[in-house]
């Protein structure tokens, strides 16, 4: 098996896992909220793989639901973020020096403020909850992708074959559709996928800190913060297993994005 096939297999595997988790989580939503005091505080066993908590809730379904919520919120937020990045990046590159310096300043400014701080601020100002988290993540994750897009468009604009196309009488629209989009799209998609793990982690973080989703949701951040109280009494599975799943999800998104980049990058032909 050569490198490219391996990469493809890894990519498909990662995506499959994430899809399964997301779908399973959606179906587990009701099961995750069922309390049953006859089975409380069970450590992981055959029937309850992740154990149960102090209210007898099944931790596996709670973890899956929490993860799937995080993934969905992360994906929505990251997509909004990527669209902002695309629009601003293209504008900076195309609309001349003044627009460019304003957008570049904005990029530098937002990158200069710690993500988590800005996120908490935005989420809190919007009244926390689903809307707060979503917009908070969306508004803070675009700068690095915007910078990449801006650079690419600038480089493309000055590339010889696009200059030639203009002299051959092709309109701006035609050049954009025929030459620019096919070049930018793969990079955009990879950038988008690589934004997912950040978005997911940040969603979980601010929910954990209490500035995100409300406490009755089985969000992964809530699960982790609640389990803090029980860790000291030896109920390690409440935090460890959901934590590992969260890390796994984030890593797999990163792997998926990385391998997609490898597959789409023309210079990887030599590997």
């Amino acid at each position: 098996m050569n490198q490219r096939k391996k990469t493809l297999v890894i990519f498909v595997g990662a995506v499959l896992f994430l899809v399964v988790v997301t779908v399973a989580g959606v179906f587990c939503y009701d099961a995750a909220r069922v309390t049953d005091f006859s089975r409380k505080n069970l450590s992981p066993c055959g029937q309850y793989l992740f154990g149960t908590d102090w209210m007898g809730r099944d931790m596996l379904t709670r973890t899956l639901t929490g993860l799937s919520m995080s993934i969905l919120i992360g994906m929505c937020a990251a997509s909004i973020s990527a669209i902002i990045a695309f629009v601003l990046g293209v504008m900076a590159a195309v609309l001349g020096n003044k627009v460019d310096s304003v957008i570049s300043f904005l990029i530098d400014m937002i990158m200069g403020i710690p993500h988590i701080l800005l996120l908490i601020l935005i989420s809190y100002a919007l009244g926390k909850g689903f809307k707060g988290v979503m917009l908070g993540v969306a508004l803070t994750h675009w700068p690095s992708l915007a910078r990449v897009i801006r650079g690419e468009v600038l480089q493309l604009k000055n590339s010889q074959y696009i200059q030639v196309a203009y002299r051959l009488g092709h309109s701006k629209m035609k050049v954009a559709m025929k030459h620019m989009v096919p070049h930018l799209l793969p990079q955009f998609i990879v950038g988008l996928i690589l934004t997912f793990p950040h978005a997911i982690l940040h969603e979980a973080s601010i929910t954990f800190l209490g500035f995100g989703l409300s406490a009755e949701q089985p969000a992964i951040g809530i699960i982790l913060s609640e389990s803090m109280k029980y860790l000291i009494t030896g109920k390690w599975w409440l935090a460890v297993l959901p934590g590992i799943m969260l890390v796994l999800t984030v890593v797999l998104f990163d792997v998926a994005g990385g391998s997609l980049r490898k597959i789409l990058d023309p210079s990887s032909a030599h590997n």
């Binding site: 051959l168 009488g169 096919p182 023309p266």
Partner: protein, 199 residues
């Protein structure tokens, strides 16, 4: 008539102009060689004449009219490095289609084989690729052609094929040519007249 009138251009505002008050004329039947030492800014000058950049001063006129800002430019330029002038993601057939109704006669005359059109640029040698770039520049609306070191990187046989074809084609269609080459022997063979830019 293609006219360059008192062209001035510099890359920085304060810097010394790369192109400093250059004027020349090319008639439709002419093939004019440009003589100047390396580092004189010949490529910059060709970009100005080809409409790739606007001069700081002076103007480029075709039959008394300035070059159009939009639409097909009657002055087409062929570059030294063909691999940079084609989109690596397009098949050669689509690259040809970028031109202005390229006639089969041109494609045949340049020795482009049918099979090459189905390939991507990375799958062709430099000489094969340059033939496509030349064909693409010879669309219906082309009145003048700029050749900036177009055969420098090719072997002599390919160079000969390309120039013999270009001489025939441009004579027949009354396309005027501007030619830059570091090879004096080539200029002597190809050009109908030569301009020393340093004078």
């Amino acid at each position: 008539m293609l006219e360059a009138k008192n062209l001035v251009f510099s890359y920085t505002k304060e810097g010394k102009p790369v192109v400093d008050h250059v004027s020349f004329q090319v008639a439709p039947e002419e093939r004019v060689g440009m003589l100047a030492p390396s580092g004189f800014g010949k490529t910059t000058l060709m970009k100005l004449v080809g409409g790739y950049m606007l001069p700081d001063e002076g103007e480029v006129l075709v039959d008394g009219k300035p070059l159009p800002e939009k639409g097909y430019c009657p002055v087409q330029m062929i570059w030294q490095h063909p691999e940079k002038s084609v989109n690596p993601r397009l098949k050669m057939r689509e690259v040809l289609a970028e031109g202005d109704q390229i006639e089969d006669r041109i494609i045949e005359g340049l020795g482009i084989e049918e099979d090459w059109k189905n390939r991507y640029p990375q799958e062709l040698s430099g000489g094969e690729l340059q033939r496509f770039c030349i064909a693409r520049a010879l669309g219906k609306g082309t009145r003048y052609l700029i050749a900036d070191e177009i055969s420098t990187m090719l072997d002599l046989i390919t160079q000969g094929q390309i120039w013999n074809f270009l001489i025939r084609e441009t004579t027949e269609r009354k396309i005027g040519m501007l030619i830059v080459s570091h090879s004096q022997e080539l200029l002597d063979y190809v050009c109908t007249s030569q301009v020393d830019l340093t004078l």
